[in-house]
């Protein structure tokens, strides 16, 4: 998947997660900035899951800002998938150009 524009998905509602993704130059690597209301208990799990999902999509270079309000794993994966697809412009959505 080739990221083209800044995009976001999710919300600040309880049990949701807001994920903003931004394409960066090739070779830059992954930067993930995470804030979570359950950082102490689940912060590492959230980061691991995001990295696993990025592996799945073969995305090595990206900047992600994550604000987690206690989302379950399916919500984290869904919001990341939505943000990535919006960024890659493979589907319509709230694109941040």
């Amino acid at each position: 998947m080739v990221l083209k524009v800044k995009a976001q998905a999710g919300s600040f509602e309880s049990s949701d997660i807001l994920i903003m993704v931004e394409p960066v130059a090739k070779g830059t690597g992954r930067t993930i900035e995470l804030k979570s209301i359950v950082m102490q208990q689940f912060g590492d799990d959230v980061l691991q899951q995001i990295n696993r999902d990025l592996d799945h999509y073969n995305i090595d270079d990206i900047r992600i800002i994550v604000n987690d309000k206690g989302a379950l794993p399916p919500t984290i994966s869904a919001r990341l998938e939505t943000a990535l697809k919006r960024s890659a412009q493979v589907q319509a959505g709230t694109l941040t150009k």
């Binding site: 869904a78 939505t82 319509a92």
Partner: protein, 285 residues
């Protein structure tokens, strides 16, 4: 059946805990146009992760002629929820086309055509006129429901709480469902603060023959369940009729009396239905 907005993670993950017989994960009217992709993806992930045990799971997709409908089908059909709800179906040609698409997706994924059921929503005047033809089109259609809000808009009705404007449609839809021997669900009651109004409407539509009612708030579950669950008196009467029927059947008698009232096959059928709704087996009597 409790409607749950498809883009709300908190409600999606708690959907089955409120005691509704079924939940409807909604990708259609409960989702803003610019969040359709987000809801579709979220519901897909939830269906694979959450166990909605004891609760029938239906997903309402967008109409196939909208920019979202085909993608909804492509993503949801392979996950095989208990049922797929198709909104605003108006003609038999339309349902033919939609079921063909569903079955093509199932073929592509090596899935059977008889596992996931289809619920058809009738929400326009044209749909009401064609409801019987639509309902009897396929064996996998096992329920019809009426979408009162959209129907009222299509009929250009003045907003009212008594439901008079959609009364003919309700009756027509019930009759079509009964003719096809399938379930029929009533529309939502939108005033979540008015519990008495909800109870009156639920009692009315039960008398019309509806199998159940759609709800939009967990607070409405108890009232609708109370209305649709047979009372102790109804269960006792039904049990008495069925027991008398079993005794008389053994003696070759088809028509008899219970408490001074004539009982024949249709009365027994209704009594059996009461026991079925109360989850009582005839063998338990």
């Amino acid at each position: 059946m409790l409607y749950i907005p498809g883009n709300n993670p908190a409600m999606l993950q708690q959907g089955s805990v409120y005691g509704a017989d079924g939940i409807l994960l909604d990708l259609e009217d409960a989702v803003a146009l610019n969040q359709k992709d987000s809801a579709r993806i979220l519901v897909s992930h939830m269906l694979q992760y959450i166990s909605y045990e004891g609760c029938e799971v239906t997903v309402r997709v967008n109409h196939i002629d909208t920019p979202f409908g085909l993608e909804d089908l492509q993503q949801i059909v392979p996950l095989q929820p208990n049922a797929l709800r198709l909104p605003k179906v108006e003609t038999v040609e339309e349902i033919t086309r939609i079921i063909k698409v569903i079955e093509e997706i199932e073929d592509k994924h090596g899935l059977p055509h008889d596992k996931m059921k289809v619920h058809v929503m009738i929400e326009t005047a044209l749909g009401v006129q064609n409801v019987y033809e639509i309902a009897q089109y396929s064996d996998r259609i096992d329920a019809i429901s009426i979408g009162g809000q959209d129907l009222a808009a299509d009929m250009q009705l003045v907003k009212s709480t008594d439901g008079i404007g959609i009364d003919y449609a309700r009756k027509q839809i019930v009759m079509a469902a009964k003719a096809c021997k399938i379930d029929v669900f009533d529309t939502v009651y939108v005033d979540t603060e008015n519990e008495e109004g909800l109870r009156e409407e639920a009692e009315y539509i039960k008398k019309l023959g509806f199998t159940g009612k759609a709800i939009i708030n967990p607070r409405q579950i108890e009232i609708v369940n109370e209305v649709f669950t047979p009372t102790d008196l109804e269960i006792r009467k039904a049990a008495k009729i069925v027991k008398a029927f079993e005794r008389n059947k053994a003696e070759g008698i088809g028509v008899f009396a219970v408490d001074g009232k004539m009982v024949d096959a249709p009365v027994v059928q209704r009594a059996l239905r009461v026991l079925e709704m109360a989850d009582i087996e005839v063998s338990e009597l």
